[in-house]
Amino acid sequence: MGTLAEEILSARVGRQLIAGETVVVPVDVVMSHDTTTALVAEGMADLGRGVARPDRGVVVFDHITPAATVAAAEQQQRARKFAADQGIANLLTDGISHQVLPEHGLIAPGDVVVGADSHTVTMGAFGAFATGMGSTDVAVAYATGESWLRVPETVAVQIDGMFPTGVEAKDLILEIVRRIGSDGARYQSVEYCGSAIAQLSIGDRMTLCNMAVEMGAKVGLIAADDATLSWLDGRGSRAPRLVQAHDPGYSRVERIELDGLEPMVASSPRVDTGRPVRELAGMTIDQVFIGTCTNGRLADFAAAAAILEGHQVAVRTVAVPASREVYMASLRAGYIETLVASGVNVESPGCGPCLGRHKGVLGPGERAVTTMSRNFRGRMGDPSSEIYLASPATAAASALTGHLTDPREIR
């Protein structure tokens, strides 16, 4: 008996674990990317050991790719050398790690996944215990095939009802983060449950799990179900280890009815400041960005295209698919043509301007509406610039008008 976090870890180590225990667990997948791999390589050189399971290692180029500066290119040379030296065949350059690992079938439900990126929690949407760590922890996981964890307590978020028109998973997670707070789930697991989960797409689930770290959580988890298995079907992933929460003991239960939700926006510089878009509607903006591991998937491009179709954007707008697979599917569906015709700059897959390094850096005093997960001061550029977090529909509606706009006003 236990929470989803306790059950996944218990199944992995073969004995019943309870929250609070410190355990060493086998790691199924270890990931690092273009800005963390060089530091991982230094840790392994210091340790004097190689990668224990090269077939379970993944190096992803997503943060500054293609390289925007000589320094970034050098970091990437070091990452390529690391992968080559260690025999890691999975060197992926086709999108954001948290999107392309599942797309390539490299994770399975029940896995323990350790990634040198805080948004590794996104993969909890597949019922995997996926957590972000620093480069030294990841070096140890590469070298030993293991990691140490404190089995986390769990905040349950029970979600029931149906999304009203114009309201999306991003609005839901902004409301959840508002309620729990940016450190309300620190060191804990956030387990999403309730009758609404079955209707949520895998993309929606990834949006929810992605922002678990914005509440301080170690993991964001959703139990794998038929939809998970059908999404992974044909991608060559390993056999799932299917577990459910059984008679769980939660540290807190937060209940949310979808029917009353509205489009939400979180104001610079705090992620937990969500409020209805209509309360801030009319605020002028300088840039819109649609993309990231939070909201760069096919349904997000569909939502943006539906709003922009046949119109011109009023402010500079950047859209970045989370992966080549998303890019290709969006091309086939006509979304990319719609966006480009509307005046949107569609950039190659990756993290895009989320890190403030390329493809849409903000200048002094500029204000952006974005589908990102973080609105920290200066993250996208100048420290005096401001980031507002919202759904793809709200971002697209705001691009159209040049000010923060409730997407229900456009439809």
């Binding site: 180590v13 399971r53 030294t136 293991e146 450190d183 200066g378």
Partner: protein
Amino acid sequence: MARAWRFGDFVNTDQIIPGRYNVTTNPGELGRSCFIELRPEFAQQVRPGDLIVAGEDFGCGSSREHAVIAIQAAGVAAVLAASFARIFYRNAINRGLPVLECSLAGTVEDGAEVELDPIRGTVRELATDRLLTTSPLPEFATRIALHGGVLELVRAHGSLNGVCGPSCDPALPAASQ
């Protein structure tokens, strides 16, 4: 004499080392960019042995370990905060940067002369003679700290088994992998 550099609540790793300055693993470069936008004078004026004192959730956000390296390279002896974000906390313990939880850390005056007793885990504010005590390190952190970092622990034990002591359950046989 060591001085305290006071920061507020929710200092994130983007503020400790912004994304535009962490495209390197060179500690010297990272140290020179530490808090470059939040407190541009920090890197020039910080002296070896100074302390950072802060409020809640220090180090939240990105997992970048460059944040710990930058603070260490700047010469900071320890970070006292009311609480720490988990990835930053692990990174600090793993790299041997003392991170001490103290509910009153955010009340130390900016620039105050302070004295750290790393063995007792106490900080004295000299002007007021106030003694701040910190929470004892959790067991895993103590074990890693005693080795001087997690790489040293793995080197000493050949595996991570030293982290949780005798209660630690070794990994399953290879058949289960």
